[in-house]
């Protein structure tokens, strides 16, 4: 029961969960930007080849 109460106070009360959400969002945005850059590079190579 104590473990349950602990996690409840950690996540449900909302204090500082937003920090984790922020970190995950930043990582995800950077991964997507990386994918977009890769996509643009490959598109450029495709155009060069034609």
């Amino acid at each position: 029961m104590s473990v349950f109460a602990q996690t409840e106070s950690m996540v449900r009360s909302g204090n500082k969960l937003f920090v984790v959400i922020g970190v995950i969002t930043i990582i995800f945005i950077l991964i997507v930007l990386y994918l977009i850059r890769l996509d643009l590079k490959i598109t450029k190579l495709e155009k060069q080849q034609e």
């Binding site: 473990v3 349950f4 996690t7 996540v11 449900r12 969960l17 984790v20 959400i21 995950i24 969002t25 995800f28 997507v32 994918l35 977009i36 890769l38 996509d39 643009l40 490959i42 598109t43 450029k44 190579l45 495709e46 080849q49």
Partner: protein, 235 residues
Amino acid sequence: MQFIPNKWYKILATLIVGYVLIYGLMLDLPTDVGILDESIRNLFYHVPMWFGMVLVLLAAWINSMMYLGKFNPKRDIYARELTNTGILMGLCGLTTGMFWAYNTWGTPWTNDPKLNGVAAGMAMYGGYWLLQKSINNQEKRARLTAVYNIFIFPLFVALIYIMPKIAKFSIHPGSGEAVNFKAYNQTHNMQYVFYPAVIGWTLLFVWIAELRSRHEIIKQKNENKKLFNSDITNQ
């Protein structure tokens, strides 16, 4: 941005996975999920890896059959790169599953029909990966991998889905007589994250597969050009 082909599904993938990452953590959970507790949120991250993997491998399977129909080299590249991406998703699912299992069941691996099926299935796809790395001749590699892929995909589905389903005992949710996620979903809101999660993660990995395929097509064109040029100089 206008230079990126098929950008709409890429934007869609980004938006859906962003929603899943953020809302999946903020969602109000059912209180009586027992031993899983907060880790039930892994339903939005671990499970879509497997669902998405099966969808991606299905697409690869269809491409393999289309290759054997008309021998279009592009179909071979799509099939191989989709399968490679599927293997990556499987590895993501396997490692996250082991981490989750370690923190739930106390051990990273149990003798469970679902886990054993996955081990055998991943070994078959490991064989696929070795096969495509071990043949240099483009056409030979394309034909052999296509035939092998057509064989293993139905076996893989049988091993990871049907066999665990008909097994008598399993502690993995969704197989045997173990509960599936609907039994945990007493707040009736988890499906609003779970189904988008499957679609979003699948699209995100399809994006990666598309990049890999286009890179491979550029590479093969270059190789063919080199072959052509060396033929001329030899004569």
